[in-house]
């Protein structure tokens, strides 16, 4: 892609700013009318004129590049000038020069703020820059990465990143886990605004359409500083599509089909731009059937709900009944890019309907027959989630400073339909009511209004500050025959200040502090059935929790190829309402779960180290971490048994998680790429001197890929093989099964076919090539002895429209 510039570099280009900005003379722009005018053109990485980039001259004058990418500053008085260029999705660039030596127009090439990737290895120049200036472990991945590592959901795609795991519930639902921490310890944000759904739940996924994701920023480690309570494990921040670089209409149609689940899906993307106005629309639809597994004799039922369905061992076969589902999403973005700043309005609608394995039903032959008839049908139990998001984000420049205001509203509507039983005969009326609502078992409705205000001070070269204010208002209500979570209101607010001090070229000091408060008002819940269970499910609670976070880090950059950084941070997390006041049966887990209103905010310290070294074709990275919690919140099995199962209660304990990631990458002649990534977490409950639940095992991902020469009309031909080696996990808590290790092989092949000027992208993937039967320790169905999906052949086709 960059080759057209490479041959010009020798004669016309000269490199400044250490190879990141290419500034060269373009003869077509020779019409410079005088020394007091600075003009030029902005080009994107593929050499196309880039419209809408923001330019700032000598911290005082502003302009925006035109449709042809051109810009002009008239009446430049100072002899020396400095132009700062910024554009969404690209690295900021600073170009210096003197007007009297400038006889030609400038040509400035933007570098995407996400790295160019070889295979699925995180490696590249722009990425390097982000790593160099941030003391915490922060990285970005782009669309290309997401395409090549694409799984059934956004989290399954990000699973290829060392230190990031996906907790899967069959094919349709996944949750993020970073460095062994999941649920409420990872913040998922969209455009910097926290995404709020049912994070506590082991069977609620992210309400994000991965097709509409432009790029993703991932923070591994404590990030409470900017994201507030909960960001102990890390942050997944989904960033928007880039502003289209040219006027007019562009787009892409894509299609996917997968053999294992009989998946078919498609999505259409359309972008429109006219001068400083732009608009994006993404529409996605996916439909999939029950997932197939290597032939498995039987599975284990969870602990029974009633005597008649005790934990039978039931014949399973080669498909997991009732795990079919569908996904629908529409997102619309409209925005403007102006010299004073930019503004955008984002509307998202995301809906899924996913079945849960019907372990209860298939014990009856009559229901089993119904499931056998179709792989696509959805019977009880199933989940239906509708998520609506509106966001408005505005940036305003004040010379070098920037003010960003983001306002968001989110409504997450989540319903579960299941078999309902009246144990005592006292709830006949309720039972009829909810049976008529389609067997509504649980309905959870969460409204969230968020605001983020961030002011960045960049006046001084050595010091830059960021001051931020975040607020969040939440109202949660519930419905349904059964109960798990009470009604509540929650208000949270926090302010933070961060400081980046560039001591010298080689040394950067990052520091920051934050204070927070969270007000919680939980409604009391009474038992509707006086004869069965406790009279009060959860007491009322009104409480204000304070919170604080600090962080200090140093980056030492002895050369362009070496990064050494160290960071110490303190994060916090206010207990979730689930951990305070849950009461109910977690049916799929076979557990009766109870919150405890005495639980206190979690406090965590993390020590983080990052070392990276690059040679011309070889690079290694090492990022160990140690986490210490004074009061880690976890679900602890108690000795109490109830007719509905064993009682698990939320408790707190000192805990530590330590581990790290190692990456190594070797690129031979820009063709053959070998990369090895390893990740490991050791989790320990320091009070009980035992493990912590759901800790991912040590795993090693080895990838070998080869980029073939272009073979007209086939371009970008690539073949890759991936070997995933996972160790056994025997470090488990009471009642958690230990899981043995496994190997899994995946294949990837991709090409671009050229029909005249029309490109067609083809990608073929084979997951679990050998159809091996293995268990994923952190997968939801693992507890029932259900293995991971068997061989899956996937075909992706995408057609860009110009």
């Amino acid at each position: 892609m960059k080759s057209i510039f490479e041959h010009k570099t020798r004669s016309n280009f000269y490199l400044i700013h250490r190879g990141f900005i290419l500034l060269f003379c373009l003869h077509s722009f020779l019409d410079v009318s005088g020394q007091s005018t600075v003009r030029g053109v902005i080009l994107d990485e593929s050499g196309k004129p880039f419209a809408g980039a923001n330019l700032l001259l000598n911290s005082s004058k502003r302009t925006v590049s035109s449709t042809e990418g051109k810009f002009v500053f008239n009446d430049v008085r100072a002899r020396k000038f400095e132009i700062k260029v910024s554009a969404i999705g690209f690295e900021d660039i600073s170009v210096q020069g003197t007007t009297d030596t400038l006889t030609q127009a400038l040509s400035i090439i933007l570098t995407p703020s996400v790295q160019e990737l070889e295979g699925v290895t995180i490696n590249g120049n722009a990425q390097e820059e982000l790593k160099r200036v941030e003391s915490i472990s922060k990285l970005q991945v782009d669309k290309k990465f997401l395409l090549e590592s694409k799984g059934a959901s956004l989290m399954q795609s990000l699973n290829a990143i060392p230190g990031v795991n996906s907790m899967d519930i069959g094919t349709g639902i996944s949750k993020p886990m970073i460095r062994g921490m999941g649920y409420y310890r990872v913040v998922v944000a969209q455009n910097g605004i926290r995404q709020e759904g049912q994070q506590w739940s082991s069977h609620h996924g992210l309400s994000i359409d991965q097709q509409a994701v432009g790029h993703v920023e991932i923070i591994k480690g404590p990030a409470s500083l900017e994201f507030g309570s909960g960001a102990i494990g890390g942050v997944i921040n989904v960033l928007p599509e880039r502003v289209p670089s040219t006027d007019g209409l562009t787009g892409e149609l894509s299609m996917v089909t997968k053999s294992n689940t009989q998946w078919f899906g498609g999505s259409a993307e359309l972008s429109f731009r006219k001068r400083d106005f732009y608009s994006h629309i993404d529409i996605t639809y996916n439909s999939f059937g029950d997932f197939q597994i290597p032939e498995t004799e039987s599975f284990l039922l969870p602990v029974p709900v009633s005597a008649s369905e005790a934990s039978h061992e039931v014949v399973l076969g080669d498909q997991v009944y009732n795990t079919a589902g569908e996904e629908k999403a529409i997102s619309l973005t409209t925005g403007i890019v102006k010299p004073w700043g930019r503004s955008s309005l984002i509307l998202n609608y995301y809906a899924t309907k996913v079945g849960f394995f019907d372990w209860q039903g298939i014990q009856n032959d009559s229901i089993r027959i119904i499931h056998d008839q179709s792989r696509r049908d959805l019977q009880l139990p199933y989940q239906e989630v509708n998520n609506y998001t509106i966001q408005h984000i505005t940036s305003r420049y004040f010379n070098n400073d920037e003010l960003e205001i983001g306002i968001g509203y989110q409504f997450n509507d989540s319903k579960e339909y299941s078999y309902l039983t009246d144990r005592t005969g006292n709830r006949e009326e309720d039972l009829n009511h909810y049976t008529n609502k389609g067997n509504l078992n649980l309905g959870l409705f969460l409204h969230t209004i968020s605001t983020n205000v961030v002011y960045s001070f960049n006046q001084s070269e050595k010091h830059s500050f960021k001051f931020g204010l975040n607020t969040q208002f939440q109202i949660h209500t519930n419905d349904g025959y059964n109960h798990i979570l009470p009604n509540y209101n929650r208000y949270a607010g926090g302010i933070f200040l961060t400081h980046k001090y560039t001591i010298a070229d080689q040394w950067i000091l990052n520091s920051g502090a934050r204070i927070d408060f969270t007000y919680l008002n939980i409604e009391e819940t009474l038992n509707p059935d006086v004869e069965f269970g406790d009279p009060v499910f959860n007491p009322a609670l009104e409480e204000t929790y304070p919170g604080s976070a600090y962080s200090i880090g140093v980056n030492f950059l002895p050369s362009r190829t070496t990064i050494i950084k160290v960071n110490i941070g303190k994060s916090f997390r206010v207990p979730s309402v689930y951990e305070l006041a849950a009461y109910g049966l977690h049916r799929h887990g076979g557990r009766f779960e109870k919150g405890n209103i005495e639980n206190e905010p979690e406090q965590a310290w993390e020590f983080d180290l990052g070392i990276e070294q690059k040679w011309s074709d070889f690079s290694i990275g090492l990022s160990p971490f140690i986490n210490y919690f004074t009061n880690y919140l976890y679900l602890n099995p108690s000795s109490e048994l109830r007719p509905v199962g064993q009682v698990f209660e939320y408790r707190q304990s000192r805990a530590s998680l330590l581990g790290g990631e190692i990456t190594a990458n070797y690129l031979y002649r820009k063709k053959l790429n070998l990369s090895v990534n390893a990740e490991y977490v050791y989790a320990v409950n320091l009070d009980l001197k035992s493990a912590l639940p759901f800790t991912p095992p040590l795993n090693l991902r080895t990838e070998l890929s080869y980029l073939f020469n272009d073979l007209k009309p086939l371009q970008q031909n690539k073949l890759g093989i991936e070997l995933l080696t996972v160790a056994s996990q025997n470090n488990t808590v009471p009642n958690e099964l230990s899981t043995s290790g496994y190997n899994s092989i995946n294949l990837l092949g991709r090409t671009e076919i050229l029909f005249g000027s029309q490109r067609i992208n083809l990608m073929l993937k084979v997951r679990n090539l050998l159809n091996a039967s293995y268990y994923n320790h952190i997968s939801f169905y693992r507890r029932m002895w259900i293995p991971e999906p068997g061989r899956d052949i996937q075909l992706y086709i995408s057609v860009p429209i110009k």
């Binding site: 039987s298 029974p304 008649s308 369905e309 005790a310 934990s311 014990q363 050494i564 020590f607 009471p734």
Partner: protein, 158 residues
């Protein structure tokens, strides 16, 4: 490389705090004494339910339930007996009990009398045939184990 030393130092300190586990990961053990597998019990009659439970740390709760096995299912951990023909349940008997066990005891014989209801009228005219006793035991670490017993429950007069 100075930092590497710090990391090693901290790792040593942390690992020093994490002593070797002295809590053995041991589940409680259930030994069924009465009734015996494949025994025949009768509606309207009493019997002694006796199990011996051992654990390394101390005991928690015991729960048991009785449920029909007219569909010939299996819980994976018990021997099967000669069973009647498969049949559909019409009015199967099911019941459950929960008891607490002495927390301080590492070995205990739990003994209780259980009476199955008599088949007097239509509502208690239960299906006879193959049933399961399903028993759960927890210890005070929260470990849970279960075992199952195949039995036949017949009419009092038969």
């Amino acid at each position: 490389m100075k930092y590497t030393l710090y990391v090693i130092l901290i790792a040593v300190i942390v690992s020093a705090c994490i002593e070797e586990k002295d809590t053995e990961i041991e589940q409680p053990v259930i030994e069924l004494l009465s009734p015996s597998p494949c025994d025949t019990l009768r509606f309207g009659e009493s019997f002694n339910f006796r199990v011996k439970i051992t654990d390394n740390t101390g005991l928690g709760n015991i729960s048991m339930d009785v449920h029909h096995n007219f569909g010939h299912h299996n819980h994976g951990v018990h021997e099967s007996c000669d069973m009647d023909e498969k049949k559909d349940a019409v009015n199967p008997y099911s019941n459950g009990w929960v008891f607490s066990l002495p927390e301080e005891r590492k070995e205990y014989v739990f003994d209780t009398g259980i009476t199955f209801p008599a088949m007097k009228d239509e509502t208690t005219n239960y299906d006879t045939g193959d049933y399961h006793f399903h028993i759960y035991v927890t210890d005070n670490d929260g470990y849970q184990v279960f075992t199952t017993l195949d039995i036949k429950v017949l009419d009092q007069d038969s």
